[in-house]
């Protein structure tokens, strides 16, 4: 396998059968800091098909949120800047679009929801008005049509008494309700892709279950694709079709969700899956991954995981592994490791 063509590093399988809605190829987003350049996203390859949910998992600082912001061109510049690669959405190269055209895509064709809805909602406007404004702007509806759409959206996301709730201000709503409002706003223009960045992390577990069920239901009804960014392997296991695991700015493994959980190939994925407390027998020692995630300002040479990797050898220090189809994989499965784990751990 040659490295020149970045698409060649992506395995063909189900992904090749349909044209991807979104494709990232070697995406790099860096940040200038006082002590140098932080390579937050450093060569990310990722595809999302129509109607599909892709889970992007990894620990704090791995670059998953910066990847999302890069897709929407929302990375503040400075200090951030695009350092390479491309983002193709429905046949268009998002990085080359004029700002005005990008604004038409953002919030309309590609929508995003965040972990903390309070920071994304405007505190001085009633929530109904905020949704109505979005659809007026993007879809050119009249004032009256827009408020009717807002009330209908609130109803669709399971907010009781939507006409009254539309007149509430964000601070008058509970965390779960606020997240529903943000989802209503995000899907109000019928996006083709919804990017959900830790959408349930700030919520209690019973409310998290409600929100995940709501997202799955909306997706079924609208046929939108979803990029679900989370650190929670349980959330990914229950919602994603395919999973990409990020470590220190790169995708190190991706596969269908069942395949990834049943036969993880990258030692980092294996470590991550094993360190979950729900797998160990109560009282047993948890198989932790030693050490800590490297700083994006000082990434290790070769494979970025090698300082923490139980399988690391000389080659791992010298040469960065490419994301290649996993040896003897059933279906689509790619891994960036010189010595991938062979069988079930």
């Amino acid at each position: 396998m040659k490295r020149e063509d970045p698409s060649a590093t992506l395995p063909r399988g189900t992904a090749g059968a349909r044209a991807p809605l979104l494709a990232l190829r070697g995406l790099c987003t860096y940040f200038r800091g006082e002590t140098g350049v932080a390579r937050a996203v450093d060569g990310v390859d990722l595809e999302i098909l129509p109607r599909e949910t892709v889970g992007l998992v990894g620990e704090s600082g791995c670059g998953k949120s910066v990847t999302a912001l890069s897709i929407l061109r929302l990375v503040p510049d400075p200090p951030g800047f695009h350092a390479g690669g491309e983002i193709r959405f429905a046949g268009r190269d998002l990085l080359r679009l004029p700002a005005a055209e990008m604004r038409r895509i953002r919030g309309n064709e590609v929508a995003m929801i965040f972990q903390e809805p309070m920071t994304a909602l405007n505190p001085v406007f009633a929530v109904g008005e905020q949704i109505a404004e979005a659809v007026r702007l993007h879809q050119g509806l009249s004032r009256r049509e827009a408020s009717a759409r807002a009330a209908r959206m609130l109803e669709q996301v399971g907010i009781p008494d939507p006409a009254r709730r539309a007149r509430s201000y964000p601070h008058q709503l509970s965390g779960g309700m606020r997240q529903r409002v943000m989802i209503a706003m995000a899907v109000s223009c019928g996006p083709r892709l919804l990017i959900a960045d830790e959408p349930t992390t700030a919520l209690d577990v019973t409310v998290q279950a409600q929100i995940l069920a709501l997202l799955a239901d909306l997706q079924r009804r609208t046929g939108m694709s979803m990029l679900l960014i989370t650190h929670d392997l349980g959330v990914v296991a229950e919602t994603a079709d395919r999973v990409a695991v990020m470590y220190a700015g790169r995708v190190v493994e991706h596969a269908g969700v069942r395949e990834l959980f049943a036969r993880p190939r990258h030692p980092y994925t294996v470590g991550l899956l094993r360190s979950r407390p729900d797998l160990a027998r109560p009282g047993e020692r948890l198989p932790a991954i030693e050490g800590a995630v490297p700083s994006a300002f000082a990434l290790p040479a070769g494979c970025r995981f090698h300082p923490r990797c139980p399988r690391a050898a000389a080659r791992c220090v010298a040469e960065e592994p490419a994301l290649l189809p996993a040896p003897a994989a059933a279906g689509e499965h790619a891994v960036a490791c010189h010595f991938p784990v062979a069988e079930e751990p």
């Binding site: 620990e59 779960g176 577990v205 229950e238 069942r258 991550l272 360190s275 109560p282 020692r285 800590a292």
Partner: protein, 337 residues
């Protein structure tokens, strides 16, 4: 039952006044903790679990008298034969003396470590305050503590901001250990950590428990961690304990409908076994105005008219298992070990 009780808490309550207007008129109160009773054995880990606003953190902080209790009793027995110490009746001077035994580790070690103090100063503060070591001894003890929690001795001269979240949590643990406590409240101590780091800290806590015979009151909302670390579990909802039992009882035979819903809501990291969940309706009601009768009634899938009459009494299900539900009578429920 537990023979060697370290701590017995009875009817603990913490109410906060709610004031309105320019004169700060008292218009009501929030019963953040409303009559909570439990006990802890020596060397045991008891977890208080529940969602935000259930009162688990307030209960633990009131127990340590970081907040003054509204009423209730807490008897602390430093040694098996020692006379019980009534924590809530102690005058300030006496309280300081016993506080050495009762320590706390917080969720966000960044907010709980003074950024202007070096790690050495942070860890040694308790040694100085309680006069447990002096001069050279302090230095040696600090190095020993840092090494025990997996940091190197050089950490002594550095400052909290130079460390990662997991390392800062290790500093917080070293600080708590410095005074040789018997009991540590772990207040969401691993909740903010990434899963690979969380595993390291959970392992460390268990090692320290085995080594020093510590008792942990573990405050958490992550049930996977709770299942791993606890001997017993108490589930709280809106200021009250609704179910209490051993780990096996709570996870295999949850009797309260809230416990059942809570367990069912946890996403399973097993895509081969996706399933339809019991979805609770609505959110947790405001503790300012809890529904009459059983607080869980408005969200409960099996509520009946009689549930509105009064807060249900505990139904004993085994010597170690009890649930505050009129319909809790028995075995057979779908949990997982």
């Amino acid at each position: 039952m537990i023979d060697d009780v370290l701590l017995a808490v009875r009817d603990l309550a913490k109410h906060f006044p709610v004031r309105r207007g320019v004169l700060g008129r008292r218009v009501g109160e929030v019963k953040a903790v409303d009559g909570v009773s439990f006990h802890m054995g020596r060397g045991e880990t008891l977890s208080l679990v529940g969602e935000s606003g259930c009162g688990k953190t307030t209960a633990a902080r009131t127990l340590l008298r970081l907040l003054e209790p509204t009423h209730g009793e807490a008897l602390y027995r430093p040694a098996p034969e020692a006379a019980p110490v009534p924590l809530f009746q102690l005058p300030p001077r006496e309280l300081r003396r016993w506080r050495r035994d009762l320590q706390i580790i917080f969720q966000d070690p960044y907010e709980s470590l003074n950024p202007r103090l070096s790690v050495g100063q942070i860890v040694s503060e308790g040694l100085r305050v309680h006069r447990l070591a002096r001069g050279r001894e302090i230095e040696a003890r600090v190095v020993e503590l840092l090494e025990r929690v997996g940091l190197d001795a050089g950490a002594r001269d550095r400052f909290p901001h130079e460390f990662s979240g997991g390392q800062r949590q290790r500093i917080g643990i070293a600080r708590a250990l410095a005074v040789r406590p018997r009991f540590i409240v772990c207040d969401e101590a691993v909740s903010a950590l990434d899963v690979s780091i969380q595993a390291q800290i959970v392992n460390l806590l268990r090692d320290l428990q085995a080594e020093y015979g510590l008792s942990f009151l573990f405050i958490a909302h992550d049930l996977a961690v709770v299942r791993h670390i606890s001997d017993r579990i108490a589930v709280m909802y809106l200021g009250r304990i609704v179910e209490e039992g051993t780990r096996e009882e709570i996870f295999l035979r949850p009797a309260h409908p809230y416990t059942q819903a809570l367990l069912a809501a946890v996403p399973r990291a097993d895509p081969a076994r996706r399933r339809e969940r019991i979805l609770l309706r609505g959110d947790v009601p405001s503790p300012l105005d809890p529904p009459p009768g059983c607080h869980f009634r408005p969200r409960c899938p099996i509520a009946e008219e009689q549930c509105a009459a009064a807060f249900p009494a505990f139904v004993p299900l085994s010597p170690t298992h009890r649930a505050a539900c009129l319909k809790a009578d028995g075995p057979a429920h779908t949990g997982r070990p």
